[in-house]
Symmetry: none
Subunit: 191 residues, 4 copies
C-alpha cells in the first residue's frame, strides 16, 4: 500500500526543517568552506545522500540558510516594536532586553544574527534591521534620550555589538555576556 500523499509531504517537510535547523548552527560556527558535508550530516544525524534529496548542492543549502537568516533573527518583532507609540528610550530598552534574552537562550538566534551580519558585510541581504533601528534613533534624538551622531552609524554600531555577542555565544560557553543595560547604553544618554 502506498504511503499517503500528505504523510510523505509531512516527512519531507520535517526532514528539510531538521537539515536547515541543524545546518544554521553548523555553518554559522564553521563558515561555508569550513563545513564538510560528511561532518554536517553526522551532526544532523542523517546520511550524506539525504542532504542532496533536499538541496542541489552544498552552496544551495548555504544559500537557503543565508536567505532565511533574517527570519531566524526575528525581523517582524522589531518592526512591530518600532511602530509602538512609546518613547524611543523605552523601545531601545525593550529591543535590547529581547535581543539579550534571545542571545542567551537561543543558539539558533545567535546563528541567525551571525549569518545575517556576514551577509551584510559581503554586500548581500537587505539591511532592514538597520533601517528600523535608525528610525528609533532619530525619534530618540528628537526626544533627547539618544546620544547625538549619525543615525546610520549608531545603528550599525548597535547591531555590530549584537553580532559580536552572537558570535561569542557560538564559540564560547563563557558566561561573560553583555547585559541589556550595557547594550542600551550604546544609544542612550547616561542618566
Amino acid at each position: 500500500m502506498p504511503k499517503s500523499q500528505e504523510r510523505c509531504q509531512e516527512i519531507r517537510e520535517e526532514t528539510k526543517n531538521l537539515i536547515v535547523k541543524k545546518s544554521v548552527l553548523y555553518f554559522a560556527k564553521n563558515g561555508f568552506a569550513g563545513t564538510k558535508i560528511s561532518e554536517l550530516s553526522k551532526h544532523i544525524g542523517i546520511a550524506q545522500g539525504t542532504i542532496y534529496i533536499y538541496f542541489k548542492s552544498k552552496e544551495d543549502l548555504y544559500a537557503e540558510i543565508f536567505s532565511i537568516s533574517d527570519k531566524i533573527a526575528g525581523n517582524d518583532k522589531l518592526n512591530m516594536l518600532a511602530g509602538l507609540p512609546v518613547p524611543a528610550a523605552q523601545k531601545v530598552k525593550k529591543m535590547s532586553d529581547y535581543l539579550i534574552k534571545c542571545l542567551n537562550d537561543d543558539e539558533m538566534f545567535s546563528a541567525g544574527i551571525a549569518l545575517y551580519t556576514q551577509r551584510l558585510l559581503e554586500g548581500e541581504g537587505d539591511p532592514s534591521f538597520y533601517r528600523t533601528t535608525e528610525k528609533i534613533i532619530r525619534q530618540g534624538q528628537k526626544e533627547g534620550s539618544i546620544i547625538s551622531g549619525n543615525a546610520r552609524k549608531l545603528s550599525e554600531f548597535y547591531w555590530g555589538v549584537v553580532y559580536l555577542y552572537a558570535v561569542k555565544r557560538l564559540y564560547t560557553s563563557d558566561s561573560v555576556m553583555i547585559s541589556s543595560k550595557d547594550l542600551s547604553r550604546i544609544l542612550l544618554e547616561d542618566k
Copy 2:
C-alpha cells in the same frame, strides 16, 4: 659590495615578507578553510610551489601569521601606554585615537586585529591586550572616569568593537567608520 650570500638572504627575507604580508589580509578575510593556496599564490603574485619553500604547510603559514598578528596589532605600544603616569581617561583617549588611526590607515593592522580576535574566540592565543586594558579600566573606575562594571567584561566589549570595525574595514570600503570619541565612550562616563 656584499657577497651574493648576503644578497640571497635578503631576497629570501623579501619574498617571505611578501608572502606573510599578503597572506595576513587573505586569511583574515577568508579564514583558514576558505583560503586556497592556488588563489592565495595568485593574489601574492608567485607560484604555488614558492610558498612551500618558505613554509612547510598551509597550517605552518597560518600559524606564523597568527603568531605575528598581535605584533601587527601593536601590543608593545599599549603596554607602554598603560604604564604611563597619566589619568586612565587620557590613556583610553590615546589608545582609542591610536586604534582608530590604525584601522583607518592600515589594512594590515585591521587584519591583525581580526586574526588576533578570531584566535581568542577559538580559545587560543593569549589575551594580553585585554589584561592591559583591564588595568586601565580599574584605574579609571577608581578615578571616577570610567563607568562601573566588571573590568573584564568592559575590556572585552571595548576590544570587541575594535574587532568589529577591523572586520568591517576588511570587507567594505565604506567610510562610515566609528570615531575615536565613540570608541572612548564605551568606557568613559558621559561628561
Copy 3:
C-alpha cells in the same frame, strides 16, 4: 469467478510485463550504465522500489531483458522460414520483408534487435540468427541467386544492417528507412 490468489498472480504478471516492456526500450537506447533506476522507474510510471519486488537488481533486470531479446527479435519465425522447401532467394525476400515490417511497426522489435546485437558484440549470447542465415546463404550460392563470398561474413553483414536500422529507429523518427528490396540486395545478385 477466480480466487484472489489467481488475480494476484495476474497482477504480478502484468506489472512484471510492464517493467520488462518499458525497460527493453530504455536499456536499448541508453545502455546498461546509462540507465538510472530512478529515471527508468519514472519512465515506466512506477516507484523505484517496485522494480526490486520483481527483480533482484539492476543487473538481474538487464539480464532478463537480454535473455528475451532474441525472442522479441523472433528467432522462431526465422528457423521456420529457413526450413521451408523454397528457393533461397525467396527466403531472403520473405525474411527481409518481415524484418523491415517489424522495424517499421514495432519499436520493441527494434529494441530487441539492438540488444541482441550488442550482446553479440560483447561476445555473449548465441549467434543462432547468424547460423540460420548462413544456411540460407549457402543454399542460395549453390542456386546461383546469392553473391559469392564467405557465408558467415555475408550473414554478419546482413544482420549488421538490420541492427543499423534498428538503432536508427530507436533514436530518430526519421522516415528514411531502408526498403525490403535494399536489404535483400545485400545478399542477392543483381538481376
Copy 4:
C-alpha cells in the same frame, strides 16, 4: 629558475593531446556513462586530478572528444576525393579502399567514426560526410555506375555500414572484416 614559457606550453599541449587521444577510444568503447574517470585516468596513465587541469568536467572532456571526432575521421580527405575529375565509380572504390584500410589499421579512426555517427544519431553534429557522399552518388547515377535510389538514403546506408564495422573493430579483434569490394558494392551496380 622558472620553466620557460614555451616548454610549459609544450608540456600542456602534449598532456592534453595524450588525454584526448586515449579518451577517444575509451569513450567510444564504453560510452559516457560507462566511463569512470578513475579507470580512464589509469588507462591514460595519469592521476585523476590531471584530467581536471585540462577539462572542467567529465562532460567537458566528452564534448571535446565528440566535437573533434569528425576531424579524426578524416573529413578533409573525402572532400578532396569528391572534387577529383574522375568517374564516380572510381571515387567510390578509392573511398572504400581508404576507409577499409583505416578501419583495419587505426583504432582511433574507428573510434572517431563511432563517435561521429553516435553524434549524428543524437541529432547533433553536421552530416558533411553524408553530403559529400551524396554528391558522388548523384554523379554515379548519371554515369550509370551507381544503383538507383534516393541519394541520401544510399549515403546513409553506406556510412551506416562503415559505422557498423568501426564498432565491430572496437569490440572484437575478429578478423572477419568487410572488404573494400563489399563496401563499394553497396553503391555500385554489379558488373
